[in-house]
């Protein structure tokens, strides 16, 4: 059923992504692909993977942006996957009932056996979080590693999304964002976590933590010591310069 849950889910599982600490190493991108290509749904296929035009379906991608000018400018590594929105239009536009939002924890999923691959849900997502698989021709998206987080065959500390588990910079946090006492909610409150494109009105669950203010000024800021004059007019060096320039 592609109607959204009638009442707000009691839990709203999601990610908090720290743009301050992300180093852009792409480990989460690879860990995501590795886990999700071997899970319960169809594999995440690649086309021409070793050729000149390598393409494939990935559920998590790390963009790189620059914000600000000159010495105040900063490089921001920007991971992006499905934000498991509260008002997920990707779900309501789906004509088949393949896309749905879970009542119990707010995770947005695709039931691949029902998906006709019309692509409308990908159009309805402002964030570009859905990609059609080139082989199975069904819509792929982040599952929040639903087959890890509730998986009792895994040791307890590994029951989190693969991207969170793997991140060497601890830039990704997983938890219940509906519970104000959860660690992720506290992190959002503390660090001023924000929504992407709030003006779209999708009310994403995932939050982003802004880069922290730089301490002690940015860049080299002050005056740069002058370099030696390469074209001296007088004195001994001037005479040497003139002699050698002849």
């Amino acid at each position: 059923m592609t109607s959204l849950p009638a009442s707000t889910p009691p839990k709203q599982l999601g990610l908090v992504i720290d743009l301050d600490t992300c180093v852009g190493c792409q480990a989460c991108v690879v860990a995501c692909k590795e886990w999700n290509t071997g899970g319960y749904p169809a594999p995440l296929s690649d086309q021409d993977p070793y050729g000149a035009d390598a393409r494939g379906a990935w559920l998590n991608r790390v963009h790189g942006f620059e914000a600000g000018e000159g010495a105040d400018g900063m490089t921001v590594h920007f991971p992006k996957s499905c934000l498991h929105c509260a008002d997920a239009a990707c779900v309501t536009v789906c004509p088949t009932g393949a896309s749905y939002k879970r009542d119990e924890d707010g995770i947005v999923l695709v039931e691949e056996d029902k998906c006709i691959g019309c692509g409308l849900c990908a159009w309805a997502c402002p964030y570009g979080a859905r990609e059609l698989d080139g082989v199975s021709k069904v819509m792929k998206k982040c599952t929040l590693c639903i087959d890890r987080i509730y998986n009792e065959n895994l040791p307890e500390d590994e029951r989190q999304p693969a991207c969170v588990n793997t991140c060497p910079a601890h830039a990704r946090h997983f938890g219940d964002l509906a519970d104000p006492e959860s660690q992720v909610s506290k992190l959002v409150a503390e660090r001023g976590g924000f929504d992407l494109m709030p003006e779209m009105g999708y009310r994403p669950t995932n939050k982003y933590l802004p880069p922290r203010p730089r301490s002690g000024g940015t860049g080299c800021g002050g005056t740069v010591p002058a370099l030696e004059d390469a074209d001296p007019a007088g004195g001994f060096l001037g005479w040497v310069d003139r002699m050698l320039s002849r």
């Binding site: 743009l19 914000a67 692509g119 990908a122």
Partner: protein, 314 residues
Amino acid sequence: MHPAPSIIVFTALSGAGYGLLFLLGLGSAGGVLPESPAFGGVAVGLALVMVSAGLVSSTFHLGHPERAWRALSQWRSSWLSREGVAALLTYIPAVALGLLWVLGARGGWTILAGLGTAAGAVVTVFCTSMIYGSLKPVAEWHQPWVPPVYLGFALMTGALWLMLVLALFGQPIGGLGLLATIAILLAWGLKFGSWRHPVAEGRPTPETATGLGAFGTVRMLEPPHTQSNYLLNEMAFRVGRKHAERLRKIAVMVGLGASLILALGAVASGGAGATVAAAGAVVAGMTGVLIERWLFFAEARHTVALYYGEPAAA
């Protein structure tokens, strides 16, 4: 947005088919169309072929056409599902109308079938337009002009096709000529309105897409992947915008100018001349709508492009 030929052909062809069904439904209910069974059979048959061809062509872009029947299930929330349901339901009165016409029946049942067909046609085209009109991430689509434009072009192309069928059967075009003229002007008038609709206001920018606006202007430093992907192929189409101005002019010259002149020519002339002019008007009108539909996709900008270095819309 990538202009997929199957969707463009689908919306243009089925739009014309439903426009024709609408006019045939109302016209037969009002008793203003020829009673000849041959005329009715050909006209309703033609409309049904057009809408069916459009529906079939729309399944070409599906990953799993064999599951297409599932798309009828979510009419409570999805405009695409509603469109499918409306399209199928419209067959009932439309096929009944064709049969009654061919069998020479008049009166109550014909009126009922005619009105049902006309209503079904309007609802179906409206649902088609709302598939696009409801998508917030595409500001060019998420605006109030989209449904009237779709309905307007359906009426216009339907009227042109009806003119052609009347001319083919040697019937006077009469009042339909006036209706077609009005429909052409109305459809393009609505289109001008949608072209002038401001879409930049309140539209997301790279700053709001990343939430980094507080640090200054945001630009792409490195893309997340070196080659293209599904998102870029589907939603970051730019070629169209480069030629948009010229294509708009061509669409207007052919779809409005030429089709109007030819439609008036069909009214003014009789016999074979009328048929030739009406056929020309159909070709011109359909060409104009196909270009317009291509631009409708090519000019539409999806917010996902903001993550790939597209600057904020001007």
